[in-house]
Each structure stands twice: as structure tokens, then as C-alpha cells.
């Protein structure tokens, strides 16, 4: 039992992953709260006023982490979809299902905070430029994935159809990321430049990185909570799930 050599492939089976996920949730939640508290402290109380955008720039501390996570979660889902299609592993489809709602919410938050930032700085809530439009397409891809997989009753077939959609849609991620370089857009390039005042930019950068870590931990926690429910649902006819349901532990 105390063998230090952990067999990681063991956790690819839902029966092994279910209890592991349950044990990991409080740790990731604690890390997320710690990172979030530190990031908010730096972002809202310590970081100085931006010389161009005043206090309005503080939206960056939620906008950039949400945008990064919206793209990163999609890449993770596409990764699981590829694994699932190639090796027919059961857990991969469950992971894509568990991640999709949080990814969609991150894309929504990216657009929402972006609109609230665009209005005072550009004078408009929305423009059809490359960065904004490709991020909107990302939100539609998430919604499309959720709707497509919900419309197919057989879980394994839903995973396959959804997986193909994810892999086709992954082309949108580099388009979002490089859109500010490839096209002339209203959206600014890199958000924090280290060339202004070094100490000031460093505090902003640290606040943003801590917030990004907090968003990362949040997404992991939500995916783990959701995947546990999906595992129970899909594996309900197995003996180990029946044993869990028969017992009092959840």
C-alpha cells in the first residue's frame, strides 16, 4: 500500500479516479482561495493607478484570467477528445463533459468584462473585430458542444460526436491568440508591459498571475465536482458504484 511508485495509469479508470478526485477537491479549493485572496489584495488594494486608464484598468485582473482559462479549458477538452477518440478511454469523454460548462462561463466572463472595459476606454461595448469575434465563436463552440452531446442519448456516441466538434473547433484557439498580431484590431496587444515603471508593472503582473492561478484552481475544482457525478451516472451498473451508493459515504 505504501509503495512510492504510483502507477498513474491506474487513475485512468473511473473506479480509481472517483475517490482520488474527491480527495483532491478540498486541496485545490484551498489553493484557489489563497491565490484569489492574494491576487485580489494586490489587484484592488496595492497596485497603483494606471497613468492612461486610471482605475478602470483594474478590470484586467478578472478579464485576462477569464480569457486565458476560456482558451486553456478548450485546449484541455480537445486533448481529452483526442485521447478518447484514439484510445477509446472511458474517462476522457467524462472529462470533456465536466469541463464544458466552466469553459463556457469563462468565455462569457471574458466577453462580459471585455465589454465593460471597452465602453469607457474605446467608447463602445462591442466591435466586430478579430479578437472579440473569435472569442464569441469560442463561446458558441462551447454551447454547441454542450447542446450536441446533450442531444445524443448514448453517452459513448455523444463523446465521439462532441470530440470531433472539439477537434475541428481547436483551430479557433490560435486565431484568438494571434488575432491581435495578424489583424489591426481595437483590442490592445500585450496587457501588461514591463517597460513603463518596473515596480508598478511587476505588481500588476503578479496580481494578474495570482488571479490566473486562482481561476485555474477554480476550474479544476469545478471539473472534479462535475466529473464525479458523471462517473457515478455512467458507471451506475458496476459493483463499485453500487457499493458507494449502498454505503453512506458520497
Amino acid at each position: 500500500m505504501n509503495n512510492r511508485l504510483i502507477n498513474w495509469f491506474k487513475f485512468a479508470s473511473p473506479a480509481a479516479f472517483y475517490p482520488l478526485a474527491g480527495k483532491m477537491i478540498p486541496w485545490f479549493a484551498a489553493l484557489g482561495i489563497a491565490f484569489g485572496a492574494a491576487g485580489l489584495w494586490l489587484g484592488l488594494f496595492v497596485a497603483p493607478t494606471d497613468f492612461q486608464q486610471g482605475e478602470g484598468y483594474r478590470i484586467i485582473f478578472v478579464h485576462v484570467p477569464a480569457s486565458w482559462m476560456s482558451m486553456f479549458i478548450y485546449l484541455v477538452m480537445a486533448f481529452w477528445a483526442a485521447i478518447g477518440l484514439a484510445f477509446n478511454t472511458r474517462l476522457s469523454g467524462m472529462m470533456t463533459q465536466a469541463l464544458a460548462p466552466t469553459g463556457a462561463l469563462m468565455a462569457f466572463l471574458s466577453l462580459w468584462t471585455g465589454a465593460l472595459w471597452g465602453k469607457p476606454m474605446w467608447g463602445t461595448w462591442w466591435v466586430w473585430d478579430a479578437r472579440l469575434t473569435s472569442e464569441l465563436i469560442l463561446l458558441f463552440l462551447y454551447i454547441g458542444f454542450i447542446a450536441l452531446t446533450a442531444a445524443i442519448d448514448d453517452a459513448r456516441r455523444a463523446d465521439k460526436a462532441g470530440g470531433i466538434l472539439l477537434l475541428v473547433g481547436v483551430v479557433n484557439i490560435p486565431i484568438i491568440y494571434f488575432s491581435v498580431k495578424w489583424w489591426n484590431t481595437l483590442h490592445q496587444g500585450s496587457s501588461v508591459s514591463l517597460t513603463k515603471s518596473p515596480s508598478m508593472a511587476a505588481i500588476m503582473l503578479w496580481g494578474m498571475l495570482l488571479m490566473a492561478l486562482a481561476f485555474w484552481m477554480y476550474s479544476i475544482v469545478l471539473a472534479l465536482i462535475r466529473v464525479r457525478g458523471i462517473i457515478l451516472e455512467r458507471e451506475r451498473h458496476t459493483d463499485w458504484v453500487k457499493a458507494i451508493l449502498a454505503g453512506d459515504k458520497s
Binding site: 484592488l44 488594494f45 496595492v46 497596485a47 497603483p48 493607478t49 486610471g54 482605475e55 478602470g56 483594474r58 478590470i59 478578472v62 478579464h63 477569464a66 460548462p101 466552466t102 462561463l105 462569457f108 466572463l109 462580459w112 468584462t113 465593460l116 472595459w117 465602453k119 469607457p120 477554480y218 475544482v221 469545478l222 465536482i225 462535475r226 464525479r228 457525478g229 457515478l232 451516472e233 451506475r236 451498473h237 458504484v241 453500487k242 451508493l245 449502498a246 458520497s250
Partner: protein
Amino acid sequence: MMHWNSLADFLAMGGYAGYVWGSFGVTALIMIVEPILAHRRQKQTIFRLRRQMRAEARTPSEGST
């Protein structure tokens, strides 16, 4: 180290209060509501599967699927 002179100063956000708090507020709302809904759904799944299992146990002839 503290950047603000007063609470009112902090809340005003240099005139950008609606934009800044609109961003942080909706983000906070989603990050409170989504975990609650996800957790509740997990509990409901367990509750429903338990009920199904008990129902299947009562009718053994149909419980073999």
C-alpha cells in the same frame, strides 16, 4: 502600501465604479453560484441513483439489465 484613502474612494474606483464592480461582481456571482449548482447536482445524482438501485432491488426480475 494601501492605495486608497477611504472606503468611498475605493468604491468610486476613480469614476469607473460601474465598469470595475460590474466586472468583479458578475465574476464573483458566477464563481459562487456555479459551485453551489454543481455540488447540488452531484448530491441529486447520488440521491436518484440510490432510489433507482433500491427500486431495482425490490423487483429482482427486472434488475438484471
